[in-house]
């Protein structure tokens, strides 16, 4: 203790001590984040700090887009205008059919006294940037909890589902793409109604646990099945690109190309509809039936 250096040369704790402190802090954070999800408040606070930096990093790209838009040639604008006009015509025709179908559907639902689904509200958002993390497929959009975005909401563009909101900050939200390894999407084959779960596989999707003789062909369209209560039914998800059937395995290996171009567009829609999550029936029904069986047994014994 008496060999303390004079305050002039005091450098704080030794480098190794400092390293040990920060390494253990980082390991603690990682465990909290990966196992218990306790670090979300810290992450939210850091996200607010990092937000201006991210906007600043986006500004050269925005500037470039603005300049490119300014110098867009008239012919390309004309061409785009023509395609857009034809698309509008087609869309209006589809809308008319859709309205007729909707009214018919509503009437039949009323006839069946089925619960009417709320018309789905959507929120327009723009992709700020895609994460630099090479281990996962995520994009960050410019709407957050201040704009009533919450975790779990599906995200789509005009061609299909691109993913699901997995983390929400005040002014932005993280969307895990359907091609992420940890993202599973319940799907259904349009042609024959076969249900399955598509898992992300980096750039493509993998339709797992389908029997080797399952009726799936190249080019089959997969849409959301809607039985999860999160995705509305019928949104395009992927198209089957390759089917490998090997007698050595019980399951077929089915690769699918995502339908939506998550890496091409910047504008996306977040579906704000209320998710009608009802608990799976087995969770409550089985113990109850067991109890009733036990009661019945007890009564018999009496």
């Amino acid at each position: 203790m008496e060999l303390q250096p004079p305050p002039l040369f005091s450098l704080g704790p030794a480098p190794l001590v400092r390293l040990a402190f920060f390494v253990s802090l980082a390991v603690l954070l990682m465990v909290l984040d990966a196992r218990f999800r306790y670090a979300e408040t810290l992450r939210n606070a850091m996200a607010v700090v990092a937000y201006p930096l991210q906007r600043a990093a986006m500004s050269p790209v925005d500037l470039f887009n603005g300049i490119a838009g300014f110098f867009a040639s008239q012919s390309s604008l004309q061409r785009e205008n023509d395609t857009l006009r034809s698309k509008v015509l087609q869309a209006s025709r589809d809308t008319l059919t859709l309205e007729a179908l909707q009214s018919e559907n509503a009437q039949m639902r009323r006839l069946l006294e089925a619960r009417e689904k709320m018309p789905g509200k959507t929120h327009f958002a723009e992709i700020l940037y895609s994460g630099r993390d090479p281990f996962s497929r995520k994009v960050v959009i410019d709407k957050g909890s201040l704009q009533t975005i919450s975790a779990g909401q599906p995200v789509m563009d005009e061609t299909g589902v691109i993913g699901q909101v997995t983390r929400v900050f005040p002014m932005m939200a993280e969307v895990t793409l359907i091609t992420d390894k940890e993202q599973a999407t319940p799907v259904q084959v349009v042609r024959n109604g076969l249900r399955g779960v598509a898992y992300g596989d980096g750039a493509t999707l993998d339709l797992r646990f389908m029997a080797a003789n399952a009726d799936i062909q190249n080019g089959d369209m997969l849409v959301t099945s809607g039985i999860d209560g999160i995705y509305p039914a019928g949104l395009p998800v992927a198209r089957v690109a390759r089917v490998e059937r090997d007698a050595a395995y019980a399951f077929a290996r089915i690769q699918c190309e995502p339908a939506a171009g998550a890496s091409q567009h910047r504008q996306v829609l977040v579906l704000l509809q209320e998710t009608s999550l009802t608990a799976p029936p087995e969770a409550d029904a089985q113990p109850a039936s067991k109890q009733s069986r036990a009661k019945r047994g007890a009564k018999r014994r009496e």
Binding site: L11, P15, R18, L19, F22, V23, L25, A26, V27, L28, L29, M30, L32, D33, A34, A39, L42, R43, M46, A47, V49, A50, L53, Q54, A56, A57, M58, P60, V61, L128, Y129, S130, G131, R132, D133, P134, F135, S136, R137, K138, V140, R167, E174, K181, E182, G202, A203, S263
Partner: protein, 173 residues
Amino acid sequence: MRFEARPQRILLPVSGFFMTFTILCALLFNLLPWRDITGVPDLLALVLVFWGVRQPRKVSVGVAWGLGLIMDVSNGALLGQHALAYAILAFAANALSRRLLWFPQWPQALHVLLMLLGCQLIMLTVRMAAGSPFPGVLYFLGSFICAGLWPLTSMLLLAPQRRPESVDENRPI
């Protein structure tokens, strides 16, 4: 190899503003919207190594840890992954600071390459332990690009300290 033959130049004291500015620039470069490109150089790690070697008292483990946390949050990565890797990187840079500057530029770049590869290896280990897939060999390309940029980086970042202290109008050269 003879080290004493090279003349050493006495540098001006570093300006804290310039250091902050360069670190901020590297951070902004890292936050640019890199779409699905693998092998983008991690300039923030390079700048951290540079200042960790040149100014070990100012840029040390704590600063690197905080910057790593910002990277984690803005990338949506596992919280603490970059923080851990950068903290160890800064420690290595501080520990090598007395030795590294005796070498010429390219051997210095080799040292830097090893440090950056170690940093990426730590992140890879952490993520694979957390259950992520291997992102491919191209993931390590960024470190090689960064090491190739080392001579340029040290020239640019040292330029403000190489100015003459007082400009003498009457001096012949």
